[in-house]
């Protein structure tokens, strides 16, 4: 029997070489399995938190308290504390909901699509993209509940045996929303956790403190890296990725239908589901970019998050931005083509009415600014990308505000027209929700491996195979 050990994995043909070349571009520096594991797990296992982390955490904790304090006051007083009134009955609450759920759309989507298409640059960014999804989804789920007049009855959305003979209205997109968000949240959590199990095992084995060993041992569920377990886990990841992609499309289509099912001018449009999906991808990619740049700088991860990652993400943002810009054009075209005077009026009043500044600001942020990404110099400048992603996030929030408020404030009867002015509680809940998102994200980067260590090891194997 031969005892010679081959130097590298047996080549798998041309496919293998392509993989190896791609792996080389997304993993810089000279690394070993051990150094990758050390670099990523030390972020979690270091006993002392960095000063910037403590400051940011304190700030986000305050905003989190503002968020829940405002919600507490809302529950005590009712939705009258907001600037809502007839005719604008949906404003910041639903704007925030759509904005957050859109951010939640792309995390799992990025991770699933990059996995399905076997893109090596997914290895280092999929973990926190998935985390971003879960946190944004948690926040998004809060808004439809708190915007109810009687939030304590929100569980009536659920079909359950009750003495009132009460059933949900199955044909309402608001009920579909409930099922879509439930399925998406649970899928995202399970997808995330399946990826985390092997990494928790690494932390369990590397931790020195007894407490950390016990906690990570419990979280790792006794993972020991058996070949058959890996194979099942891989198979599960592939299946879940395949299921996640159509689910993502369905979830945000349903959000679009929440509006399209109403006959309000500006909402009653069949373009809404795909338009909303494109907008969701766009704002989610932008938020992913924001977080990627911050993490790369904060933890000195330039070797794992290379120029290639930022470049690819920027191209995705640019492509989605063009789809969104096309949707805006089509919205205007359809308003004109409908020959419906109310539709046409709504389209015009968006551009010329009292909220024209919202419209033109969003066009600047969402359509004009991303065009800078055509330039490679811009795509290779992290802080410029960071600035662009922040502007896109603001622009996408304004877009939802525009879609929601300017459709409601002047509908069919001029006698029913009215303006919307946000109160301090509207702002407190919006800013508080951003703080709560940051709070969860900070806890995540401190206590959970922010990158998939085993996928980085796989990447290294491919890279070694070529050199």
């Amino acid at each position: 029997m031969s005892t010679a050990v081959p130097e590298v994995l047996p080549p798998g043909g041309a496919d293998h070489a392509v993989h190896a070349r791609a792996a080389a571009a997304v993993l810089a520096g000279t690394h070993s399995y051990g150094s990758i594991s050390a670099k990523i797990s030390d972020i979690v296992l270091t006993a002392r938190a960095a000063r910037w982390w403590l400051i940011a955490f304190a700030a986000c904790s305050v905003l989190t308290l503002v968020f829940f304090g405002s919600i507490g006051y809302l529950f005590y007083k009712g939705v009258g504390i907001w600037g809502l009134d007839v005719p604008v009955v949906w404003a910041f609450d639903i704007t925030n909901y759509v904005w957050w759920i859109a951010i939640a759309m792309s995390g799992t989507f990025i991770s699933a699509v990059l996995h399905l298409t076997r893109q090596p640059w997914g290895a280092s960014i999929s973990r926190f993209a998935e985390a971003m999804t879960i946190f944004a989804l948690v926040i998004a789920g809060i808004f439809p509940i708190i915007h109810l007049g009687r939030p304590w009855f929100f569980y009536w959305l659920m079909p359950y045996p009750n003495v009132m003979a009460l059933w949900p209205q199955w044909r309402s997109p608001l009920v579909w929303d409930f099922f879509a968000i439930l399925a998406y949240l649970l899928l995202s959590l399970m997808f995330w956790y399946l990826g985390l199990i092997p990494d928790f095992a690494t932390l369990r084995d590397r931790a020195r403190a007894r407490g950390a060993q016990v906690i990570f041992a419990l979280l790792a569920l006794g993972w020991r890296g058996e070949a058959r377990h890996w194979q099942r886990r891989q198979s599960a990841q592939l299946l879940l990725a395949g299921l996640a992609v159509p689910l993502v499309v369905s979830v945000h289509s349903v959000v679009g239908l929440d509006f399209a099912a109403g006959n309000t001018p500006g909402w009653h449009s069949t373009i809404f589901p795909p338009f909303f999906v494109a907008g969701a991808m766009f704002s989610g990619f932008a938020m992913a970019m924001t977080i990627v740049v911050l993490l790369q700088r904060a933890f000195d991860l330039g070797e794992f998050i290379t120029e290639r990652h930022l470049d690819n993400l920027a191209k995705l943002i640019l492509a989605m931005g063009l789809v969104v810009a096309y949707s805006y054009l089509m919205e205007l075209f359809m308003a004109w083509y409908s020959a419906d005077r109310y539709e046409i009026y709504t389209a015009l009043t968006r551009m010329q009415g009292p909220y024209a500044w919202v419209y033109w600001s969003l066009i600047f942020c969402v359509v004009v600014v991303p065009q800078a990404l055509w330039s490679q110099r811009v795509r290779h400048a992290p802080w410029v990308l960071f600035g662009i992603s922040i502007l896109i996030n603001i622009g996408m929030w304004l877009e939802r505000f525009m879609l929601i408020v300017t459709s409601e404030y002047r509908d069919f009867l001029p006698s029913a027209w009215g303006m919307f002015y946000p109160t301090v509680w509207d702002w407190a809940i919006l800013i508080g929700s951003i703080g709560f998102f940051g709070w969860m994200l900070l806890l995540f980067v401190r206590f959970v491996p922010l990158m998939s260590m085993y996928e980085m090891r796989e990447l290294l194997t491919h890279q070694k195979a070529v050199s």
Binding site: S37, W170, M190, W223, L243, R457, T461
Partner: protein
């Protein structure tokens, strides 16, 4: 045959995936069947080298998806057609309106089946396992690759099997306490 042997098996440590793959193929080729390989990442072809793959998950996912989808559709159908028919202007609920929750719950059913399928078929969670008794095994989650031939294997022999493993150029071979 070493029925009385108290050991769980013999564990050989390797430094890379290629060496482990090679060793797994050799051990399977030599007739060992109670084999297990441990790696800090998925290694392509390793389960095939060990001689067994589990292709049951997709089927499980299908069953879960069917239960979720059919169950949700049936619930809605019962609700709108039998238990509480709602007739608004002669328009009784048609099936397309019932599809979104059906679709979402089909995916959720498949997801639950996959997630719990992975864990149950892998017999996880299981916090204790004999291989954890080996002092160096902690590296299996970082940068070391292990092949374990269990004492339960009919071909296992404390001396011969150790000699066999030594020939595969491992970093070390050690006996695993049960």
């Amino acid at each position: 045959m070493t029925q009385g042997d108290p050991a769980y098996g013999l564990l050989a440590e390797f430094s890379g995936p290629a060496a482990l793959l090679h060793a797994a193929r050799a051990a399977h080729g030599a007739g060992y069947r109670k084999l297990e390989a441990y790696a800090p990442m998925p290694v392509e072809g390793l389960v095939e080298a060990l001689g067994s793959t589990d292709k049951g998950l997709p089927r499980l996912a299908l069953v879960g998806g069917l239960i979720g989808g059919i169950g949700t559709y049936a619930l809605q159908w019962l609700s709108v057609k039998v238990i509480y028919p709602l007739d608004v202007g002669g328009r009784t609920p048609a099936w397309p309106g019932l599809i979104p929750p059906t679709f979402d719950m089909a995916i959720l059913g498949a997801t639950l089946a996959i997630f719990f399928g992975v864990l149950l078929r892998s017999r996880l969670p299981r916090l204790n396992h004999p291989v954890f008794n080996d002092d160096g095994f902690a590296a299996a989650s970082t940068d070391r690759f292990f092949l374990c031939i269990e004492a339960a294997d009919p071909q296992y022999d404390a001396v011969q099997t150790r000699a066999f493993l030594e020939r595969l150029n491992p970093l070390r071979v050690s006996q695993v306490e049960p």
